[in-house]
């Protein structure tokens, strides 16, 4: 029987590709909007994004507070109002830096009790060995974690991308030279490298940032290089060369945009790693110096009071854990969103 057929459904290329003998798909799911839409569908990635957002807002708040008000405090007018570093914190609550008068030390969090008394809402997470509020110190500690984590990653990301792209695009002896240098860097353990850097240049935060950043260059460079080497073989690169487009334009217009995605994912993961490294350095006493709060340094101090006051260690530890996991699961989600192979 001849029948009348009434199909009515939307059209896309996906379907054809899944039929197996359609044209092979290309990596064409492009654009930020598409990536965001993918992430929005992924609850794990959204959790990561949420954690990052919270930590980011807290860090921003603490940074503004510490930088802006220190700057304002220089001026007479503001000094009269008692404006100084950590002004908001001090006005609202108490200073994360100086030792407050009359606050009980090593007070437990709300709902717990120890030999120093019961936890109060004035110090929801308890106080440290000098009677400073732990919550406040964790909030202000996020400042170091996030700024150092991000800027170190940016240093590694930018230099690594350029090194990797140049190395991969030109190949030959340029590639050999740059990659052998990167491998040499890679052969030295991360922490040792950063410590050596600090030992040579000093303990300033800037050098920590550069130390961690430089130590991560090989990771980025190798990643982007391997992408570029395969992108370089793509016909559209050759087409651009055949058309007479300059090398610089080819690298910036075609090579880097098309090799970018895995590096972006790596960068997200790298922020977590950098935070961990910075915490480790602080723990060893190489980070920012007391009384400026940082998570690693809080952990280091809390060691001596762990028993019977475990929360003193638990809170900064949790802060590090949650932030690093937040960056990692967001990175994973980003990879899934950017890599069409994971999409169904």
């Amino acid at each position: 029987m001849a029948t009348i057929d009434e199909p009515d459904s939307p059209t896309t290329q996906d379907a054809i590709d899944e039929m197996g003998d359609g044209e092979p798909a290309i990596e064409a799911r492009v654009g930020w909007r598409y990536t965001l839409a993918q992430i929005r569908k992924d609850p794990t990635a959204m959790t990561g994004l949420f954690v990052i957002a919270v930590v980011g807002v807290l860090a921003a708040f603490a940074t503004i507070d510490s930088i802006l008000f220190e700057y304002l405090a220089q001026y007479q007018v503001f000094a009269q109002f008692g404006v100084e570093k950590y002004w908001i914190a001090k006005t609202v609550w108490m200073s994360p830096v100086s030792e407050p008068v009359g606050t009980p030390r090593l007070l437990p969090p709300v709902g717990f009790e120890n030999q120093f008394g019961a936890g109060t809402w004035a110090h929801p997470l308890g106080t440290d060995d000098r009677g400073r509020d732990i919550l406040l110190r964790i909030i202000y500690g996020s400042r170091i974690a996030v700024t150092v984590g991000l800027s170190a990653t940016v240093v590694g990301f930018v230099s690594g991308t350029v090194v990797g792209a140049v190395s991969g695009y030109y190949g030959d002896w340029v590639d050999d030279a740059l990659m052998r240098a990167a491998e040499t860097l890679f052969a030295i353990p991360f922490l040792v490298l950063v410590l050596a850097f600090i030992a040579v240049f000093g303990r300033s935060l800037t050098f920590i940032v550069f130390g961690v950043g430089i130590a991560s260059i090989p990771t980025f460079a190798r990643l982007i290089r391997s992408r570029v080497v395969s992108i370089r073989e793509e016909d559209y690169i050759e087409a651009a060369r055949a058309a007479g487009v300059t090398d610089r334009n080819i690298i910036f217009r075609h090579v880097i945009p098309n090799s970018f995605t895995p590096v972006l994912v790596q960068a997200t993961l790298q922020v977590g790693t950098a935070i961990l490294i910075v915490a480790g350095l602080s723990f060893l006493g190489f980070g920012v110096q007391p009384p400026t709060p940082s998570w690693g340094q809080m952990l280091a101090v809390s060691r001596n009071y762990m028993i019977p006051n475990p929360w003193f260690s638990i809170w900064p530890g949790m802060a590090i854990l949650i932030t690093v996991v937040g960056f990692n699961i967001f990175g994973d989600g980003l990879r899934d969103a950017l890599d069409p192979r994971f999409n169904n």
Binding site: M1, A2, T3, I4, D5, E6, P7, D8, S9, P10, T11, T12, Q13, D14, A15, I16, D17, E18, M19, G20, D21, G22, E23, P24, A25, I26, E27, A28, R29, V30, Y34, P340, R341, N343, N344
Partner: protein, 386 residues
């Protein structure tokens, strides 16, 4: 007349994707007689590969066989239950129900795949595991499927390699797939397919990736082996040259449907369906100079949203208004030594459905610019990695 070896009836395989249902194979029927070499021809997206994997029930998610019946040597490989009107019955999950006679996946694996029906894929490199030796893989296959001991299987494997024309077979036995050339790898796959002396081999574009001189060698080999073992073949290809070369009968597919079935000579010299005709018109010839090619206008529409009525009407030079209304099945339009079927309502076999009376259609054959995009311009998937 003998009973068919393989009989496919009204096979439907759909892919259930995020964006809708792709009707990759939509109700095709064909038979394969014992020892016969049957071509399954079509362009990319015609659904020929999906049809061939459906026979062995190797369709992967999100694809699913949603209707039809496949019978092999009188045994039902699978059948989707239908109600009195022929509509497939679905259970509460909207999954089509298989009848009780259908074989389980386990039985398919144990009795049918490899032993009775073997399959050869287009890319031999993907079908061979790169970390095992070629001989080892062949031996293991023979061991499992022919219940032979290890050393007997090895001897059989070397014999098979020699049979398919691998030089220095004993030495090449312990080589790895990457040490073989493309043509040699395809020979290994043919050896593997033949190892259990199956009655049917499904060859999915087995020579497409090969050079012409190598393709010639493989076609030679297949012809010789077919004569020797009497194996039937379903040869999936897009190359009309290969079809003319080796096929006995040909099934032409377009957009998930069967449009023409005929003996190879009739198909080329007494072409019935406008699609087949247009396809033959559009190929350049190696044996004579064609000054002007006659391409088929436009591009194949997508199986997710196929045109109503006859699926070819958007590109058909003979299309009339009636073609947009009526979806013709593939029926006998000329009786001969073997029946010639075509799915086109311009033939009398379809009765008077208003073809002659309706006006010609203003379709892509009459417009100059190729305006059809493949999608909505939004995005495209990459699900071809496996």
């Amino acid at each position: 007349m003998t009973d068919p070896l393989l009989s496919v009836e009204n096979l439907q395989t759909y892919f259930f994707t995020e964006d809708g249902v792709v009707q990759a194979v939509d109700g095709i029927s064909f038979d394969v007689m014992p020892g016969e070499l049957v071509g399954l021809v079509g362009e990319s997206g015609a659904g020929k590969s999906v049809a061939s994997t459906s026979i062995l029930r190797l369709v992967e998610d999100p694809g699913r066989i949603v209707g039809g019946r496949v019978e092999f040597k009188g045994e039902t490989l699978f059948e989707i239950e239908t109600d009195d009107e022929g509509t497939p019955v679905e259970n509460e999950d909207a999954t089509p129900v298989e009848t009780d006679e259908s074989l389980s996946q386990q039985e398919m694996r144990r009795r049918i795949r490899g032993r009775e029906i073997a399959i050869i894929f287009q890319d031999p490199m993907e079908s061979l595991n790169p970390v095992y030796t070629v001989g080892g893989q062949l031996r293991e296959f023979i061991e499992i499927n022919r219940d032979l001991g290890k050393s007997a299987a090895k001897t059989a494997a070397i014999d098979m390699l020699r049979e398919v024309g691998i030089p220095e077979a004993p030495a090449r036995y312990s080589d790895y797939p990457h040490q073989f050339s493309g043509g040699m790898r395809q020979r290994v796959l043919i050896a593997m397919a033949l190892a259990c002396e199956p009655s049917l081999i499904i060859a999915d574009e087995p020579t497409t990736a090969l050079d012409v001189t190598v393709e010639g060698q493989i076609l030679d080999l297949v012809a010789d082996l077919q004569e020797k073992y009497g194996t039937a073949f379903v040869w999936v290809t897009h190359d009309m040259g290969v079809v003319a070369e080796i096929c006995d009968r040909v099934n032409v597919m377009y957009l998930g449907e069967m449009v023409e079935q005929a003996d190879v000579d009739d198909l080329f010299y007494d072409t019935k369906h406008p699609y087949t005709e247009a396809l033959l018109e559009s190929i350049p010839r190696p044996d004579r100079t064609v000054e002007e090619l006659n391409p088929i206008a436009g591009v194949m529409p997508e199986a997710i949203d196929p045109p109503r009525g006859c699926r070819f009407h958007t590109r058909c030079p003979d299309a009339r208004e009636a073609c947009t209304r009526i979806d013709p099945d593939c029926r006998v339009v000329e009786d001969g030594y073997s029946p010639h079927r075509a799915a086109c309502i311009k033939y009398d076999a379809f009765g008077n459905v208003g073809y002659d009376a309706s006006p010609p259609l203003d379709n892509e054959t009459r417009s100059g610019v190729d305006v059809t995009l493949t999608g909505d311009g939004g995005h495209q998937g990459g699900d071809d990695d496996e």
